[in-house]
């Protein structure tokens, strides 16, 4: 692991989910923690997210969820990002995410899942942890 390297995280929302407040808040939290943020915004599908993640050479993808679409896109998104070299981990989170949803997305290979009420420190720590795995193999 290269401790000097600044982590890069792509922050996005999926499908027709237009609630950006969470994505913007997470972007701020990550930037405040010294993590570089690539903000991909709204109207993204798994292929556009994967394309941007590879092009921007990010260490992780963070999906902010305020609709249920993440449940149905997660497997496809994980599959596409696993094809990257090295694979890019996906973290999902948001107020709509329930403990049952967490189990469901972890089962399809999402690296971690943040539930409502997580503190900024927890969010940063989760993204650092999953990103370190990418950074090690880089």
């Amino acid at each position: 692991m290269n401790a000097e390297r600044t982590l890069r995280v792509l922050v996005t929302v999926l499908g027709l989910d237009q609630h950006e407040a969470g994505a913007l808040a997470v972007s701020r939290i990550l930037r405040d923690a010294g993590i570089e943020v690539v903000y991909a915004g709204r109207f993204n599908l798994p292929d556009s997210i994967a394309g941007a993640a590879v092009e921007e050479d990010v260490d992780a993808v963070a999906v902010s969820c305020h609709s249920w679409e993440f449940l149905y896109y997660s497997a496809e998104l994980v599959k596409l990002l696993n094809e990257a070299d090295p694979p890019i981990p996906v973290v999902v989170g948001g107020s709509v995410v329930t403990p049952a949803d967490r189990q469901q997305v972890l089962a399809v290979g999402v690296a971690d899942c943040v539930l409502a009420g997580a503190s900024p420190e927890e969010i940063v720590s989760i993204l650092r942890r999953v990103s370190d795995r990418t950074a090690v193999s880089k």
């Binding site: 701020r28 599908l45 709509v96």
Partner: protein
Amino acid sequence: MERPVSADSPLRRAGRRAFYGPQDASSDYDRQLGDPGEFPYTRGTRTPRPGSERDGRGEAILRELSGEGSAQDSNAQFRYLLEHGATGLDVIGDGPTVLYMDPDHLHARHAVGNTGVSLCRAEDYVALYDGVPLDQVSISHSLPSGFAIAGIYLAATRLGHDPAAVRGSTILAPLYGEDTGYGGNLPLELHLRLATDSMEFASERMPRFHPFVEDTYFISDGSVDIVDEMALGFIEIREVTRRLVERGVEVDQFAPRIALLVNCGMDFFGEVAKIRAARRYYARMMRDDFGAVDPRSMAVNVAAHTSGATMTRPQLVNNVIRGTSQTLALYMAGVRAMEISAFDEPIRTPSKQAHIVGLRTQQIVQLETGVADVADPLGGSFYIEALTDETELSIEARVKEIEAMGTIADLHSQGFFRSLFTEAMIERSSEIDDRSRPVVGVNCHRIDEAEDTLLRDIAEERIEPAYEIATEIGAWKRGRDRELLGKALATVEEAGRDTGANVIPAIVSGFEASATMGELAGVLREAYGYPFDPLRGSERPV
């Protein structure tokens, strides 16, 4: 940028004084207040009848957000609510529908029918309103405005109602909706066109319908404060009014049908003052800036939707209490048409159980507490009057400030609104993180996730996407008369290019010729030099 609200302003809760006295509020009753039903309508737009809310003669429209799955499923939901005492309906479209998309759009695949009703065809609107007394029930539409008007107009005609008797409204997604979470990928000029044409159409054919509800909820929820909420709303009303007047429509012909749908958060007195200030500002604006002479043009009807952003995922039952506080504030501010965000709002569109709790909240406040028995019960309070005065002045200053910076189109293209909304969203989340904005259960008074079980089973019940609707619409589309469809789309595109024409009758004809909302929006985009589908998830059929 310097905001007109000073750091120690009473508008900022932290800046409010320990108490207020006569020196803090204007004492000019006739100029600033007037009786309810009289200019400047601070105390309400209607002359009240004593005790009317409790004996059933009141004006109150009780409604809850509804719509789920197909038009038929939603129709059953409507009948259930009406059977339980609702006197209005608020129809919300699912993700694709509110974005002018058909359910078979590539981006729509996992979002059909699970956060609202899927509507894209004339027959969907007919099925939606089958058996609903359209002349008695007031129907609010959280749907793309020009299309919802065309849809209910057609449904009324086919179901045997006179469109002129149809009551209700359609909200206007803000002109800057593309910047604040309501992006339909429409050019600003087309948003404006749909608004002005809807108003002209309704003033001629649906005179009891509010075709233009300035929805400041859209603008504010989760982001800007009450001053920007109202200032941005008024800037839109002013723009649309100017355009209609330029087109030669008399202000008194359309202004009586403009309504406001405002947000209501947890700042109890701030929200009451906001609504009173908004009525007064609107009355003066219509009279002094636009030359309205009909009192109905100056008396704006204010409806409200309580803030979904104040509802929290932890300790869901707390949301019932938040809804009750907001309902009380709204009744005390003289609002008589409202929806209460349901307790399961942070997770889903309302469950059947949450619907009933929302309705019962309104009924208990209306019938048991007596707060609605007397108009403007807080009027004359030093504190409320000081807040109302300051709010009106701040709104006025903010409108002037923004209008001096440029037109809506210029400011939109410069990214002004986008940065305003994004900064406000970030600021709000920072306030919660640093605990300067207390939210019970979120940043204080928390409990362990394992103990937080009350109402969770209801809220977390999942609604699967209605994949069958996308399949059905796809098959239905392939069976249409392509020649008829092609002609209809060409006609709508032509109407879109002709800025002297009204596009609403063309949309009605398009629906009748089997065109869908996604297709009609697509050809209108093309008329404005945009691609048919900027997301490239659908194609023009002919």
